[in-house]
């Protein structure tokens, strides 16, 4: 991901961040790392109190590396190698309630098995950080990339990042700790990257010094802890109808506040380390007539096609939300409202809905815009199927016609 991109800052949200000048950046070593290796390295540097996990392709390697770091004395964390993902997330909740910094990793069916506890983690306001290597949900069984796992969990009250590259997967994990633990937020964070395409692909990544990570994160002091026996707290009380709505509303408020905190942490991260990621990334959007909106690694392929089409004189662009929850609706609206047509690529589908989850969000975001582009939804890449340059070109081509259907699958044999 070497393209010149634009970090969008809109007037819609006030960014409160250290407006410090970026310090001169030390020469950092570029390491060839897979997404899993980079995330494992981030976890080593964060050195949480507890990691609880269960192996699942394609994220198994993360906790394998963590186990090796611990075995080699390079981490002090307690690894709880559970007998299922359900227990792994349950142990994360127990550790989080104890006031520990807690991390885990999973994919697909593993995430599905955690489902019940995902909602408990967010409802209990525990800032657990979880790496997700996006993988198709069964059935049929398929170990390859799509977003059906984490998209299904989009309403579970977790903040969701979608990384395009190994570098971003690494940076997201570090930022997630700060964001989740912020007293205005206190929400768990899911850091997604594409299974195999990012988890298992070596890319150059700049790794910070351990001390830099330590200083950036600071120490975590939970406001309430199960281990504070002199001030005993009841976690996970039963709510009757008189209280449940208010507790859910507090999560809504926390998600709203997370938006500003994410922006602030991104700015601070950028100022300190020279890499600033926003809520979303815009490429060639300034004068674009049409654009594709897509998450994660596919943005790289789309950006290549944007370069090709721009060389042919066509005004095309790319918009890649990096954060899906909280959804940066105002930014998406500002970025897209003046276009003539937009195609939203979803790597998962909501069966029976008008389109995939990203499509629905983008369309909703544009509803209040004074001028709305045509918004097309396309589902692609299920179960790891590649999307070709030709297919991406065709997506841009059909936005210039009047006959493109609002919704279709890309490359399906009907």
């Amino acid at each position: 991901m070497n393209r010149e991109t634009q970090v969008l800052k809109t007037d819609a949200v006030t960014v409160e961040a250290e407006a410090a000048e970026a310090p001169p950046q030390p020469q950092r070593q570029l390491l060839a790392l897979t997404g899993n290796e980079a995330v494992a390295e981030a976890i080593r540097q964060i050195d949480p109190h507890v990691c609880a996990a269960y192996p699942i392709t394609p994220t198994t390697q993360i906790m394998q590396e963590v186990a090796q770091f611990i075995a080699d004395g390079r981490m002090r964390a307690e690894l709880v190698p559970c007998e299922s993902e359900h227990s792994a997330m349950s142990a994360c909740v127990g550790a989080g309630a104890a006031g520990a910094r807690v991390m885990t990793a999973t994919s697909a069916n593993g995430l599905a098995l955690m489902w019940e506890v995902l909602y408990i983690a967010s409802g209990m306001r525990l800032p657990i950080v979880m790496a997700v290597g996006n993988r198709a949900l069964s059935g049929p069984l398929n170990i390859h990339c799509d977003h059906s796992d984490s998209m299904g969990a989009r309403d579970s009250g977790w903040i969701q990042f979608y990384a395009e590259s190994v570098q971003e997967a690494y940076d997201n994990i570090l930022q997630a700790v700060r964001i989740g633990e912020h007293p205005d937020v206190l929400l768990p964070v899911m850091c997604c990257m594409d299974g195999f395409l990012t988890t298992h692909t070596s890319e150059n990544a700049e790794i910070l010094d351990d001390a830099e990570v330590r200083d950036f994160l600071g120490k975590y002091r939970a406001r309430y802890s199960l281990l504070d026996v002199d001030n005993p707290v009841t976690f996970g009380a039963t709510d009757l109808p008189n209280a449940y709505t208010e507790h859910k509303y507090q999560q809504v408020e926390a998600m709203k506040k997370a938006d500003a905190v994410i922006r602030a942490v991104c700015v601070e991260f950028g100022a300190k380390f020279g890499r600033e990621h926003g809520m979303l990334e815009a490429y060639c959007m300034e004068d674009a007539d049409t654009a594709i909106v897509v998450l994660s690694s596919t943005a790289g392929s789309v950006a290549d096609m944007v370069d090709t089409l721009r060389a042919e004189g066509r005004k095309v662009g790319l918009l890649r939300p990096r954060v899906f929850r909280p959804f940066p609706a105002a930014d998406v609206r500002a970025a897209l409202q003046d276009l003539t047509a937009v195609t939203v690529l979803d790597r998962s589908h909501s069966f029976g809905a008008d389109g995939g989850p990203l499509f629905t969000e983008v369309r909703t975001a544009l509803f209040d815009a004074p001028h709305r582009p045509r918004v097309l939804g396309r589902v692609y890449g299920l179960g790891g199927r590649a999307i070709t340059g030709g297919e991406i070109r065709a997506l841009y081509d059909e936005m210039e016609t009047d006959t493109a259907p609002t919704f279709r699958f890309v490359g399906v044999r009907e």
Binding site: H49, V50, A52, R76, A77, E78, V80, P81, C82, E83, S84, H86, S87, A88, S90, A91, C92, V93, G94, A95, G96, A97, A98, G99, A100, V102, E116, V117, I120, S225, L226, L227, D228, V229, D230, N231, P232, V233, T234, F235, G236, A237, T238, D239, L240, A243
Partner: protein, 320 residues
């Protein structure tokens, strides 16, 4: 190991406050109180979904004067292992909040039979195998009482539950109980025992031992449920003793693999004495169901004989 003196227990204050919403005569309420007054360790409790959880924690109230967490139904064990791992990791880094009581912290997971025998079995097994330093206490009242008395794998043979009803052609539950205590013992953990709040000195001594051992311990505790058993609340302590005296609920412990009966009734009472006090068995006393009563007595006798033999054998082996 000396038992905690009653005076000492009485001086420890109330870890579980009165005013909770458990039924009159509920065995589980007695169990949680005895369990937490058995020692003066600073203790964290993880509680599976169930009667105790629901009745002690209705927001904004709580009966718990100790740190307490309810996560889900099936994961009390996994949850406590997370807290216990956090304790070890945070203790090493000096991150545990300061406390007046300098004794090491202890961790208890608590669940009913549904949350332990059935839906929580995997979580329990994983936690026992991983060797965390915690005690799992199952309060076994033999059915899903909180959801309306459905059968569990702990419901006894013949019991009338809402999903194993006594009808015209089927007379209650047709299957035997799962032997969960044996399953826990098969994990080769340091301490496994059965207990009943009817024999509270035996129970509290076992709680103390379970907390004292290094590593996982499991206690299966007999819990009377007047609602689900259709018994009189004032009979609860009678039933908690009668279950032991009839050998329906034998008291034993397995410490480092060594089995020992911790109570032998002078006179082994017939099971009908215990069963007659409970409406869930009333259909078995009707004409035509004599065989089922006989079967239940024979089964209890056979199991008790096996336990006696094992106790004798291990005593002999250990005295050699």
């Amino acid at each position: 190991m000396p038992s905690a003196a009653l005076l000492e227990i009485a001086s420890r204050g109330e870890p579980v406050a009165g005013g909770h919403r458990l039924c009159s005569g509920c065995g589980a309420g007695v169990i949680i109180r005895q369990m937490l007054t058995a020692t003066d360790y600073p203790t964290v409790v993880s509680n599976a979904t169930g009667c105790v959880e629901v009745c002690t924690s209705v927001y904004p109230f709580t009966a718990w004067n100790v740190p307490w967490i309810h996560n889900g139904f099936e994961n009390a064990a996994a949850t406590i292992t997370g807290a216990e791992a956090a304790y070890r990791a945070m203790e090493r880094r000096g991150d545990v909040p300061k406390r007046k009581n300098k004794k090491p912290m202890k961790f208890i997971a608590l669940g009913g039979d549904g949350g332990t025998y059935d839906i929580g079995l995997q979580s329990l097994s994983g936690a026992l195998e991983r060797g965390h330093d915690f005690v799992y206490i199952c309060y076994d009242n033999g059915a899903y009482m909180n959801t309306g008395i459905q059968r569990s794998s702990a419901s006894p043979f013949g019991a009338n539950t809402t999903t194993s009803p006594a009808g015209v052609v089927i007379q209650g539950k047709q299957e035997e109980r799962k032997n969960l205590t044996a399953i826990a013992a098969a994990h080769d953990i340091p301490f496994v025992a059965t207990a009943s709040p009817g024999y509270y000195m035996d129970f509290t001594r076992k709680v103390k031992k379970a907390l004292d051992v290094n590593g996982p311990a499991f206690l299966n505790v007999f819990a009377v449920c007047p609602l689900g058993w259709r018994s009189e609340p004032e009979d609860s302590q009678i039933l908690a003793r009668s279950s032991v005296e009839t050998c329906v609920w034998p008291l034993y412990e397995i410490e480092d693999g060594r089995f020992r009966l911790t109570f032998r009734p002078n006179v082994k009472r017939p099971v009908t004495e215990y069963m007659q006090l409970q409406g869930r068995f009333s259909h078995l006393f009707k004409t035509g169901n004599e065989d089922m009563l006989t079967h239940i007595q024979e089964r209890v006798d056979a199991e008790w004989e096996q336990l006696l033999k094992r106790d004798r054998r291990e005593r002999e082996e250990n005295s050699e």
